[in-house]
């Protein structure tokens, strides 16, 4: 059983560009959450998708947007990249209100 998968593994962009990160949830999971983990910090909640709708959003600007597809996979889009957006972006999937299972992350570097 494949766990949560994310692509790409690493990404380098320049300021002002746009980026799309992808996530496939663990088999049987229908809920996807996205987190940003800056260097030396704990993950910060960006938003959660359920039934193709954004169910809850954290304290992130509108430059961060997402989408969930009918097969439960998800994308995170970030527009107008800033240097401060450099971080590890983690996707987590779940099937109930309890534990979330995390993918390996996408390391985004903004130059």
């Amino acid at each position: 059983d494949a766990g949560v998968t994310q692509s790409p593994t690493h990404l380098i962009k320049t300021r002002g560009q746009q980026v799309t990160l992808r996530c496939s949830p663990k088999s049987g999971h229908d809920t996807v959450s996205w987190y940003q983990q800056a260097l030396g910090q704990g993950p910060q909640f960006i938003f959660q998708y359920y039934e193709e709708e954004e169910r809850q959003r954290g304290n992130f600007p509108d430059r961060f947007s997402g989408h969930q597809f009918p097969n439960y996979s998800s994308e995170l889009n970030v527009n107008a990249l800033l240097l401060g957006d450099s971080a590890l972006y983690l996707c987590a999937s779940s099937s109930d209100y309890n534990e979330q299972f995390f993918g390996p992350g996408t390391r985004l570097t903004v130059l």
Binding site: G42, F45, N98, F102, G103, R107
Partner: protein, 115 residues
């Protein structure tokens, strides 16, 4: 608002000795509590959770944690640490209210187990 505090940035223990990583939380409703471990350049790996019931919960790799409601704590423990337990540990909380789904994480505690 919900939050987690991990008061120790680093914990150093000798192999074979007990390991404790501290966590306190703040949440409006009842807490759902979790411990995750992160190895370098990797995602988070689930260790254990407290939802309800017995205050002592057992998880993966010999880890356990004790929920203490009066002290709002959820400390992670392992009776005999291994060198391979060296990693970054995160405590997380979720509010049990039905319209709140996010996990809030502490800043993490780096555990080093010396041979």
């Amino acid at each position: 608002a919900q939050s987690v505090a991990q008061p120790e940035d680093q914990v150093n223990v000798a192999e074979g000795n007990p390991l404790t990583v501290k966590c306190t939380y703040s949440v409006s409703g009842n807490p759902y509590l979790f411990w995750y471990v992160q190895y370098p350049n990797r995602g988070l790996q689930f260790l254990l959770k407290y939802i309800t019931g017995d205050n002592l919960v057992k998880g993966s790799y010999g880890f356990e944690a004790e929920f203490n409601k009066s002290q709002t704590s959820f400390h992670l423990k392992k009776p005999s640490a291994l060198v391979s337990d060296s990693a970054l540990y995160f405590c997380a909380v979720r509010d049990s209210r039905s319209n709140d789904y996010k996990l809030s994480f502490g800043a993490g505690t780096t555990v080093t187990v010396r041979a």
